[in-house]
Amino acid sequence: MPPVGYAVDWTAIVLAFGVGVAALGAMLAVAKLLAPRRPSAAKAIPYESGIVPTPLNWTQFNIRYYVFAILFLIFDVEAVFLFPWALIFLETASYVFYAMMLFIAVLLFGVAYAWRKGVLEWR
């Protein structure tokens, strides 16, 4: 087993990405050699239930997805604060614990507000 240390850890992460991409790349290369290649105009049409598709291929989608993305962003940023806190809150001063409880309460109030406003309804 290689020595312990951050440099080796980071190297391993980069290498793992490399190995993953290389292995799949090898599989795709094999596929390229084995698979037939006969392009035609009909094959290039995107699927739309068997009819000729209408020109706008990037279809419109509802704005409600955007709201969920914003809500997620809040929680995700919060997770960045929660993880370091989770490891130290027993050892440090007790106000650290109360501060985080307050923070979570504020966040949950945000969810309750969004819920009450009907943002979480899917319509």
Partner: protein
């Protein structure tokens, strides 16, 4: 024009991510002045281990495909694959070979480069996570200090791949599927983060090895049953298994982001689903079921690995079982389950654990609180479901139109005449 701008943005993101990882590498090697050196020997060792790991994972994934088909078949009173190899074991290999030899078609509207990169973005994170998943105390490639955080950070990357696959196909169903994937996966990411955080609090560490060592006597599923339930449900949604396969729903949006894929690229998506399922099974086994540990004393490494794999397969088979039992949720049910049930519950888990640890209450209070909180949505669901069903039945009863059957006029019966042959 639109496709160009999108491509530029996405490539910017990918390059930024790679720069971040390389920056970490440079920082840790250079600025922090770590004592060890990354020599060629270390590199060769790591590469060998990773290649072996990839091969093992590929074999495991192929057996998982077989396992799912067999299990589903048994649950539906069929026999499943039997023809290729003993018990049909080679069926997935045959399928993979078939897919590799199929033509790889890209629609003319797609933005080709992204279209072909997206499957890799879905598969590779599922493999990279295995870097830090320990099979036994010493059987691990790198036991990262921030293992739990690494798992979350890396497994999220596959969302990008799905959105990218949907967007770059240039097909309507694919775009809808990609957007649905984004909404679903980010919503269910929060409960996963919160339950993993709970485990980190309980074990006071973010390394998988330490987490498992802390579960020597009592696995965390006993201490925190609600946490396991939330993690399992959110994990199901995160890999898009059947009750939550809204983004690739075949009967609604014909496969979502995968509509336009064929041949080897589709095979990668297919395998990625199983890799991610196996990751969720393994992480559930490590975080809640005690990994390789065993409450009756120490085990040798080989037995530990077997125990860990057994627990992982148990979770994975439970996931397959859910697929055989439950129908797909509607997208509004899916989002409200995520935001109105799982997210509040996951916060309840975090707060309950933090309070128990901080005030140093006796240990049994934690499962008690956990089960009490779990009882709330169950009771609400049961009562609410009954009320809704009754209300609906009443509505139907009011709206019902009673059709009185009129007596039919009697037709005079025609006498049957034998047909004359040759008429």
């Amino acid at each position: 024009m639109r496709a160009r701008a999108g491509e530029a943005v996405v490539f910017g993101m990918i390059v930024a991510g790679l720069l971040g990882i390389l920056g970490g590498l440079v920082l840790s090697v250079g600025a922090l002045g770590t004592p060890e050196r990354v020599t060629l020997e270390v590199l060769a060792q790591l590469a060998t281990v990773l290649i072996v790991l990839f091969t093992l994972l590929a074999i495991v994934v192929l057996t998982l495909v077989w396992l799912e088909r067999k299990q589903l078949a048994r649950m539906q009173s069929r026999v499943g694959p039997t023809r290729v190899g003993p018990f049909g074991l080679l069926q997935p290999v045959a399928d993979a070979l078939k897919l590799i030899m199929k033509e790889d078609v890209a629609p003319g509207t797609s933005s080709k480069l992204l279209f072909f990169v997206a499957p890799l973005l879905v598969f590779v994170p599922g493999f990279v996570v295995w870097l830090t998943i320990p099979f036994a105390r010493d059987v691990v490639v790198r036991s990262l200090d921030m293992g739990l955080f690494f798992f979350i950070a890396i497994s999220v990357l596959s969302i990008v791949g799905l959105v990218l696959a949907g967007w770059s196909s240039g097909s309507k169903y694919a775009v809808l599927g990609g957007i649905r994937a984004a909404a679903q996966l980010i919503s269910y990411e929060i409960p996963i983060i919160m339950t993993v955080l709970t485990v980190a609090m309980l074990a006071d560490s973010m390394s998988f090895v330490v987490v498992v060592e802390a579960q020597r006597t009592v696995p965390y599923i006993v201490l925190q049953p609600l946490g396991f339930v939330v993690f399992f449900l959110a994990g199901l949604a995160e890999v898009g298994r059947t009750p939550f396969d809204v983004y690739s729903a075949e009967s609604e949006i014909v496969g979502g982001p995968f509509v336009e894929y064929s041949g080897a690229h589709w095979a990668i998506f297919f395998l990625a689903e199983y890799v991610n399922t196996f990751v969720i099974g393994a992480v559930a086994a490590l975080l809640f079921l005690g990994g390789w540990s065993w409450p009756f004393g120490d085990l040798p490494a080989a037995a530990g690995v077997a125990l860990f794999l057994g627990k992982t397969y148990l979770v994975v088979m439970a996931i397959f079982w859910v697929r055989a039992t439950y129908p797909r949720l509607r997208i509004d049910q899916l989002m409200s389950l995520g935001w109105k049930v799982l997210i509040p519950l996951s916060f309840a888990v975090v707060v309950a654990t933090a309070v128990q640890l901080f005030y140093d209450w006796p240990r049994w209070t934690l499962p008690a609180m956990s089960l009490a909180v779990l009882a709330v949505p169950v009771v609400m669901q049961l009562r609410g479901g009954r009320r809704r069903a009754l209300a609906e039945a009443r509505r139907y009863a009011e709206r019902a139109v009673v059709v009185e059957a009129k007596p039919r006029p009697q037709r005079p019966q025609e006498p049957l005449e034998p047909q004359e042959a040759g008429a």
